[in-house]
Each structure stands twice: as structure tokens, then as C-alpha cells.
Amino acid sequence: MLHERLIDALGADAVKTAPEDLAVYAFDAYTTGRLPSAVVLPRSTNDVSAVVRIARAYDEPIVPRGAGTGLCGGAVPACGGIVISFTRMNRLLEFDPVRRRARVQPGLVNLELSKQIASSGLFYAPDPSSQKVSTIGGNVATNAGGPHCLSYGTTVNHVLGLEIVDERGDVFQTSIDDTGYDLTSALVGSEGTLGIVTAVWVRLLRQPESTRVWLATFPDVEAASDAVSAIVANGIVPTALEMMDRTAARAVEAAFHAGYPTDCGAVLLIENAGYEDDMQACESALAAIARERGATSWRAARSQNERDALWAGRKGAAGAMGRISPNYYLQDVCVRRSTLPKALHAVEEIARTYRLTVANVFHAGDGNLHPMLCYDKRDPSQVQAVIESGNEILRAAIALGGTVSGEHGIGFEKREAMTAVYSTDDLAAMARVRDVFDPQRVLNPEKIFPSGSACPEVRPQSA
């Protein structure tokens, strides 16, 4: 029996089989999947190998799971199987301040890493808004971004190497310094479909000498978007450039009292970091651009507390939506930065058509939109409106030359949209990689690749 085999291998306390326990793992932060056959909580790479071997013997698919903060079903069992939860593999294994790198287990919480190494003057740059709970392993699976990837790059830019358990249960290592193909880059962002990450070498950066945070308000999101384009076009790439529309700013202010003005059309949160003298010059340049583009106010955070308060509002924005709506759907699309005003306009039109309230909180500097569509899930007509408008937002982004996910991933929620961005040949090239790493489609099946016959090569090869 599957359960006995798992318990023999990992111990009873590391295997969950009760239906009420399993139910929790059928969800992530938004999507619902199927009940898994079992949930395991390995403590080591060897445990993970053992689980994979057992899963294969019982023909069970494998679904790796970090903190379950994903929004598109990446960590949710699409067709049952064994969920491998990494909550117990959460240690910082090695820290090398001289070479500015660390080796961590996948279940280590993102923010926890930077906290543990803070006294060295180093930090781990990727900072998804979920960083207080989301794990490095989950971040690797989705190639997570965050506000600061504007200048630091997404997770893949900070991964130096991986330890992987493959679909047979064997362990192998990758390093970006290896000759040959860059397997590390192929694995990062593959949402657990190419291998199971059991350790990550990450690159660490020196904490900047000076960090400044500014808040500018604008009469509307169009003016704020113009300011964003002007900043980038002036050759300033700040460490973060975040926007919030009126609806979002009000919700945040009600929840956090972060000091956001609520009487404006859009709030722009700008952070830059670097050398103290440069930051002073940067401040005047940014303030001038904001003024030219019609900013109604400009404020500089004067202390660490003020900076933290402004950021707390931004990072907690999704949570604050509870103030204005029982439920919300958070979309994730990315467009060219110069098309931001058009994209925001399209979102507004779509929400109006479907009579939904929309709040926008997003990574403006990257062109990465996060419209939050408010609804009440007890009303089926609203649920339907949200699904349809979510799809329309995807189509609008594609029409503007954008993509269907900037940082959250595809999971199973967005996989059908892949055909709108990529041709059959484009997807077939990706499927070739899958064929090599997971020929039987046992690793996180039914994710990323669209279902159906549109892409014959995307289905498993016949053995």
C-alpha cells in the first residue's frame, strides 16, 4: 500500500493521509485542484528521492509545494498524486560571505534568508510581495520577481546552482559555471515540471550604501504612467517603481495607515538605492520629472520607519483588498513599459463592461500589471464576470505585445492561454525539454502546457 510504503520510508509524522489533512493541499492562494493521495513532509534530499521512487512504483504523479502562496495552481494537484511539501526542509545550509553566496533548502522562507544573513551586510535580492511566507524553492519554481527585480532582475539572475531530484529519484547538481547547456536556467521557472529542487545556491548582494523612498501622487493613472515612462526613458532605472490606483490606495490606507494620500488618482512609490551622493542627484531628477508630468504632490521618506511604512502599504496591498471586497481575483500580465497607459485603459474598459470594481497595484517600471478584480463569490454571475474579464485582460495584454504572466507563473489556471502567446512550434520546443527531463509526465502534470489536441507534440511521447 502506498501509505504504508511512504510511512516506512519517512516515518508516520512525515506522511499525511487523513482526508481533512489532504484537503488543505488541494488549494493554493487562489486556485483549487484535486485531493492528493498523500502529502509528505521530507527532511532531506534522500527522503525526496525515496518518495519519488515510491510514487513511480505506484504510478502516482508528484507535485512539489512550497508555501502554497501561488495564484495559478502551480503547487496544486491537477490530477491527484503525492504532494511533497518542503516546510521541514527550511534550513540555511551554508553561508559564504566572502564569495557572497549561500546554499539553502527549498523550504526556507524568502525573507528569513535575508534576515539570517543581515549582519554580514549582504542580502538576497528577489522579494516577491509574498516574501514573508513564500519559500526560495517556490520562488525558483516560478522564477519569482517582486518590486525590486526592476534593477536586480528576477530569481533566475540570483540562482548559481541547483540540487535536483529527477523523475526517477536520482540526484544531480547544476551550476551556472558548468560548461555545456545552462540547465540551471532551464530549471528555474519550470514550475516543478522538470525536476524537484532540493537545494539552491543563491547569489547575495551587498546592501546598498543609501536607500531612498519617494511617494508621488498624480491626478490619474495615465499621468503616473507617463511619469514612469519618462523616468525610464531618462536612463534612470530605480530599484523599484510601483504604482497604485485610487481604489487600491484607499484600501491600503484604510488597512495600514501607511500615509498614502487618498484624494488622488494614482500613487507612485519610487525607491532607489546606491551611493549617497548619487541618490541626492537622483532625487532632484525624479522630482523634476514627476512635476513635469503633473504630479500633485511629492514626498520623501525621511527615516527608515517612514520607508518601511510606505513599503508595508505596498507589500500588504493584496491583503488590504479585504477592506473593500469579499473576494478579488489578481491577474498578472506584463506589457512593454511604453504601452502601460493603453494597457491600464484597456483594463478599466473591461472592468466597466463587466461592471466590476478593479484596483491596480503593480510593478509599473517593468510594465507588470496586477489588476485586482473585486467580486463576491457567493454571486455566480459575478464569478462568471470575473473569469471572463480576466481572460479579456490576457487578450488585451497580448494584443499590446505583452505576455500572460510576468511573475506568477502559468500553473494550470493559465495554461490554455499559452496558445495565444506561442505557436505550436514554440510550445513544441519547450515540450522537447520536458521530454528529456520528464518523459512520462509524472512531475507536476497538467501544468504550463495547454491541454487538448492543438499541440500534438506537447503530449507525452509514447514510451
Partner: protein, 397 residues
């Protein structure tokens, strides 16, 4: 030539079971093994269009045969750049530089070339076109195929178009030339990476007198490049000079004219050959071991009575070692044994330049990587008939 014509050429090769050697600017011809079978030549020289220049987005799309010089000249008016730092920029192509997995000296500051690639169009072995990514700067829709193609040495497909993120150019550049007596070397190198304003590039050079400015006589020399804002340039200069002074370095000469040219000459030295009588290796390791790695390799070459020129990128830990002898025959009598001995010392050393006839006999890619079996499987899945650069890459990929 169009992408379609290139695709048709590959489709024909695939059908007829022939193979091709892919050639861009041929500037890195000293990398890789010779093709395992007779091949036709597939040149990307005709793919030389800038497809879309989007300065407001800080992005650009260009065909694979565009030279790095053309790319730089296109971006310069916007005040942006793509700091790939490959040798012979006037001939090196975008596709070739990326396919070869070139790693330049400013990557510690600006990222690896792959980190600037946001999309690509590749022609696969059977002539199929496959796109990946796009023109947006953040994209997690599917696997990051573009990064897999970068560094694949043309064995998975031909990079027909590449979309890039561009970076704002630094406001100021300044170079520093420093004599480096042996007793100051360790400390001088060490202080560079802990400076408040770390240099964009820094080289410890011994030899390469014909390529790189400065006469080192019996001592080595340091060539340091700062890139920063005008606001902090003077402070950074003072810091650098006083740190080097504390390390015991006698004098730091500031160079403000021709900084870019001086930098490019240093980069060109990576692949500069002395007729047919030199072979150049690259050894990459941890930064804090670079000095010893270089000294070990130089000492080894001396034991073989080979002449050496060396350049150590002290910000990234790359050791570039050129060994040479009086003539090709003299080099030929030792180079294979030296190659073995060097790989005992540095298993991952690769050959990056050299016209010597025995180059094909050397271990040009160093030790096989751990994930090699998967790499071989990938090659087989992408190019089952071995159309693309057969046998040229590591382990015969």
C-alpha cells in the same frame, strides 16, 4: 539572407542528412572542437537587421548576425548599452557571442549576457522557427528557452533573432594603470572588490605587451576601469588610489582619454594569437583563488618552458593564459602534455583561442559537467540527426 532562407537551408540539411558548421563573425574560431564530420557552412552574416529599436522600453530586437559594434552604435544615441564585452566587437556577432556563452569582465556589475536576453527566435535543426519570450522585460510564460540557447554553441539551433533589455550607460568612465610589484599584488587585488565603488573591470596583466598598454618590465601591471556617475567619480578615484597606495602600489596613473579603446584592447587580447604558435586558455574559479590559480598555471607553463602572457579578471575570477613558443613546431612538441597537466590543475580550463594545428587534439572544453547525460539527451531531442555543429561542443554534443 532572410531567416526563412536560413531555415530552408537547415531543413534541406536535415532532410538530406548532411550537417552544417554555423559561423557568425568567426571571432571566437579558437573555441570548440572541429566538426566531427564534413559540413557545409551556414553563415549568419546576412542576418544583420536591427528589427526593433525601442529606447522608451529600454529594449532592442536584432538579428543574430548584427555585430556588437553595430548594436553599440545603435544604442549609443539613446545613452544605453549592452555590455557583452566580447573581443573584436566590429566583427563579433550578437548570435555568435551569445551562442558561445561569452562571459565578459563587466558581468559582475551588469549581469551575464543571458540576463539581458528577454526573447529569441531560433531556427531548429529541422528548419522550424521557434520563438521564446518576447519584448517585455518580465516573462514567466513557459520555460526560459532563450537562456537554454545562450551558451549552447549552436548545437540546439541557430539564434536568428535576439530581443534584449538595454541598460543606461554610465555617465563617466575612467581608467587607471598601475605597476604591480609582486609584494603588493595580493593586497592590491583584494582591495578592489571591497571598494565602496567597485571597478567595472580590473585586470592583473603580465605580458600581452603588444595588445595592452603599459610596459610591465619585470613586474605585472593592473588596469582598472571605473564606471560611475559624474557625482561620485572624484571620490571613487580618491578611494581607489588611496586603497592601492595602502596596498603598497607605487603609483596610480589616471587615464581619461581613450578609455573605451583601452578597454577594448584588453578584451581583444583574450583571443589574440601569435601566428600559429600560441594557445589561449580560460580558467574560471572563485574570486579569492584567482591569483593562486593564475600563478599555478604560469608556473606550470614555465616548467614546460613555454612563454606566457596572462590576464586575470580580478572582479570575476577569470584567468586568461596564453602559452606560446618560438615556433609552431616547438609548441607542438609540448602542448598536449601541457594541456593534460593544466587540466590536472584546473579541470574546467577551456581553450578560447589559438591557431596551432594541434588545437583539435587538446581538451578544449575541460572536464565533462555533472549534468552531461541530460545535455546529451537534450541534443538528441533537438537535433537527432546531428545537423548543427556536429561534435563541436563539450563531450561531442
Amino acid at each position: 539572407m532572410s531567416i526563412e532562407a536560413l531555415a530552408a537551408q537547415l531543413a534541406a540539411a536535415h532532410r538530406e542528412r548532411t550537417s552544417v558548421t554555423i559561423v557568425g563573425g568567426n571571432t571566437l574560431r579558437g573555441m570548440g572542437r572541429p566538426a566531427a564530420t564534413a559540413t557545409g557552412i551556414l553563415s549568419t552574416a546576412g542576418l544583420n537587421a536591427i528589427v526593433e529599436d525601442a529606447p522608451a522600453d529600454l529594449t532592442i530586437a536584432a538579428q543574430g548576425g548584427v555585430t556588437l559594434r553595430t548594436l553599440a552604435q545603435t544604442l549609443a544615441p539613446h545613452g544605453t548599452h549592452v555590455p557583452f564585452d566580447a573581443p573584436v566587437a566590429s566583427e563579433a556577432t550578437l548570435g555568435g557571442t551569445l551562442a558561445a556563452g561569452w562571459l565578459g569582465p563587466r558581468r559582475h556589475l551588469y549581469g551575464r549576457p543571458r540576463d539581458l536576453v528577454i526573447g529569441s527566435t531560433i531556427v531548429l535543426a529541422d528548419g522550424t522557427l521557434a520563438r521564446a519570450g518576447g519584448m517585455v522585460v518580465k516573462n514567466v510564460a513557459g520555460y526560459d528557452m532563450s537562456r537554454l540557447y545562450v551558451g549552447s554553441f549552436g548545437t540546439l539551433g541557430v539564434l536568428a533573432q535576439v530581443n534584449l533589455k538595454t541598460l543606461p550607460q554610465p555617465e563617466r568612465r575612467r581608467a587607471f594603470a598601475v605597476r604591480l610589484p609582486e609584494h603588493t599584488r595580493g593586497r592590491a587585488i583584494a582591495v578592489l572588490s571591497s571598494l565602496r565603488v567597485p571597478p567595472a573591470a580590473a585586470f592583473w596583466i603580465e605580458g600581452f605587451a603588444a595588445q595592452i598598454d603599459g610596459d610591465d618590465g619585470l613586474e605585472g601591471r593592473l588596469l582598472v576601469f571605473l564606471e560611475c556617475s559624474a557625482t561620485i567619480l572624484e571620490a571613487a578615484t580618491r578611494d581607489l588610489r588611496s586603497a592601492l597606495g595602502r596596498a603598497g602600489v607605487p603609483e596610480t596613473r589616471v587615464i581619461d582619454a581613450g578609455v573605451r579603446e583601452s578597454f577594448e584592447r584588453a578584451i581583444d587580447a583574450y583571443v589574440a594569437c601569435i601566428g600559429e604558435r600560441s594557445i589561449t586558455y580560460r580558467v574560471n574559479g572563485p574570486l579569492d583563488e584567482a591569483e593562486n590559480a593564475a600563478l599555478g598555471a604560469i608556473e606550470l607553463a614555465r616548467r614546460f618552458e613555454l612563454r606566457t602572457d596572462s590576464l586575470v579578471d580580478v572582479m570575476n575570477g577569470d584567468v586568461i593564459l596564453r602559452v606560446s613558443d618560438l615556433d609552431a613546431r616547438a609548441l607542438g612538441s609540448k602542448i598536449e602534455m601541457f594541456d593534460d597537466a593544466l587540466h590536472d590543475l584546473a579541470p574546467r580550463a577551456i581553450v578560447i583561442a589559438g591557431n596551432h594545428p594541434s588545437r583539435p587534439l587538446l581538451n578544449v572544453w575541460g572536464a565533462l559537467p555533472e549534468g552531461f547525460e541530460r545535455m546529451r539527451a537534450l541534443k538528441h531531442r533537438f537535433d537527432p540527426h546531428g545537423v548543427l555543429n556536429p561534435g563541436r561542443f563539450v563531450g561531442g554534443l
